[in-house]
Symmetry: C2
């Protein structure tokens, strides 16, 4: 018999057990399920109890969870809700302001220029997953401010990943206005072409399959097709250097509103997949953060960078939103909705660590910043939205 | 960017694409989806096109698929439908006859005694997954003969895994009647305790969660709980040396018939998970079989052992069924329903290969026997059932 701790059944049952414990904790402290799941994940991870390590399998399942979650979120959005100049302005400033803020903070802490650039990048990308899930759980996904948050966060993610590519080129000293522009152009083209292709080709293909004689015999086909599109878009986004979850989101948006006659509902199916896999994803965010590398000196930096992360999004996204006609409450909700850095910042930090651009303490600081902004956001959002 | 071929999105979208191609092929040749999926899996695997290799990730997802599939199948079965002396007799003879048949065939092909024992074991275990899925797709899961097949196949699987443990002890020369009896006892206790615990404790816990105030707030909890039970039972089965899928099946049987008021249906949820993950599982069975190691000499052995695999199940299960009062058609359906060896035989062969008990050609022969019996069964069953 193979090693129990690496048995898939052991890991799945433990992760789901932990997810349930997260629900209990969340219910006890009156907060969204996400918060409880990350906290319980932290408790069972290597930092504290050490019951679960971030194995290849946990990583794969969490990865599936993030993709499925964003696909489900995308299914709630109409294309025209996102394509807006307003969101472009908010998303753009939501990248530039945290980038500059993080850069100067890092310089103040004696980091060299090119290290400061990448620390700034880690502050740029919003983790749509956390905010979207909080909004989903509160039934607020269809409110105008939710649409603005998601719209801006998608643009913001695309720009942040472009910023990562630019920062990488800076580190190797080959950056130019031309190459930066090229990265941005690829990103915008992907969004545009992906959405149009989905809307006018893939959606029609779904209808075509559903109305064929095969769908009556095999009602499962459309669901498999829809999930294939989600992963294919995720893969395509990765190929051109974006995050897979951005691709999955675009896939969801593309397939939104397709009606079915004979087949099982892919919307319902994706929702069930989300229940299991997004739970594992949120638990894994807690497991991933190993806080044992913590020192007292580092703590100060963590708190300051977290504060900068929050303030720069409030300023970079909230103020433009107000200037573009939103009221103060909605602008604050939007600003805070953009605060969580979650897995995106963790991934940026990991890439920088692997490339030797930042060292272990800076890495831990960025991971903790991501975690803190992730835990704070649902708490604040919930209170703001319940007012 | 990491290697595309190992990207999770790439593998998932390709596997789902292949699953869809399997549907198209099945529809074209008028056979169940499983057959098409295995054949297309074979085509894209290392044997032919080499598009997909059996990576750790594919293996994990396929493993999840097998567990989820048997859980879904279990949800269709009442406990009292399976606990039958009749099925015990059929299951027992369905293990003994193929074991003896395989043993003597291997001796005739000049295999040594302890190698022949394990080759015999590879012929014992029925892959319930294939037959159950064929029956499920044809809407015949609730027919009496289907119940008999599944009931006998579960017992047969338990006994086959006990046989594997006994054969392993034979190879190391420490087997005794006492230790063989102990393995069997553990298996029977697991089935009994697992089913009773599920029926009288876990089912009530599900009802309790569903009726609590938390279920209204978090309707996802019951589904997560049910899947946790499925994986936990799978893990428990593995710990005592049975196959995880037997555990998942018992979990399904235990939770059968639990009604819900406030929560999302775990039965529906598990069914949606099955659509995606069982497809990947069936495709992976094709990918796993690398037929490049094939020689002309081996071909003869493969054909003979496949024939023995078929005949011994027809005789070992079909004849007792007839003797116990079934008509000829149902007895034949039952006998053929027990023919597919699928993943169970492949796992036995893999374990034997890793322990050095059999060599590469014998391994390939067993894998091909498993594949052939797996492909033949749905074809024959379908024709028998359509009569």
């Amino acid at each position: 018999m193979h090693d129990l701790a690496h048995s898939i059944e052991f890991q799945m049952s433990l992760l789901l057990f932990v997810a349930l414990a997260g629900y209990l904790l969340s219910s006890r402290i009156g907060q969204p399920a996400v918060v409880g799941q990350i906290l319980v994940g932290l408790a069972i991870g290597p930092s504290v109890l050490g019951w679960v390590t971030y194995t290849e399998f946990v990583s794969s399942i969490a990865h599936l969870g993030a993709v499925i979650l964003l696909f489900v979120v995308g299914l709630e959005f109409k294309l025209k809700d996102i394509a807006s100049l307003k969101y472009l302005v908010i998303g753009l400033l939501g990248v530039i302001v945290p980038w500059i803020g993080g850069y100067f903070l890092a310089l103040a802490y004696d980091f060299e220029h090119h290290r400061a650039v990448i620390i700034g990048v880690a502050l740029t990308a919003t983790s749509i997953a956390i905010t979207a899930d909080t909004l989903r759980e509160m039934g607020k996904l269809s409110s105008p401010v939710a649409k603005a948050i998601i719209g801006a966060a998608v643009i913001d993610d695309v720009l942040a990943l472009a910023a990562l590519s630019i920062a990488n080129e800076m580190a190797t000293g080959t950056v130019s206005v031309l190459s930066s522009g090229l990265i941005l152009l690829k990103a915008i083209l992907f969004l545009g072409i992906g959405a149009l292709l989905g809307k006018y080709l893939l959606s029609r293909l779904v209808t075509r399959i559903d109305e064929s004689a095969m769908a009556i015999k095999y009602p499962d086909m459309v669901f498999i097709f829809a999930m294939m599109v989600a992963f294919f878009y995720g893969m395509s986004a990765e190929i051109i250097g974006l995050s897979a979850i951005v691709g999955a989101f675009v896939a969801g948006v593309s397939l939104e509103g397709v009606g079915l006659k004979n087949s099982k509902s892919f919307k319902e199916g994706a929702e069930y997949l989300r229940i299991i896999f997004a739970s594992v994803f949120f638990v894994s965010l807690g497991v991933l953060a190993d806080v044992r590398a913590m020192t007292w000196e580092l703590m100060g930096f963590v708190l300051v960078i977290t504060l900068v992360a929050i303030v720069t999004k409030l300023v970079g996204c909230g103020l433009p939103a107000k200037a573009l006609g939103m009221n103060w409450r909605d602008s604050t909700v939007l600003g805070f909705g953009m605060v969580p850095r979650g897995e995106v910042a963790m991934i940026v930090a990991l890439i920088a660590l692997n490339q030797g651009v930042i060292d272990q303490p800076a890495y831990v600081a960025l991971v903790l910043m991501a975690l803190l902004t992730t835990i704070i956001t649902p708490l604040v959002l919930r209170n703001l939205l319940l007012k």
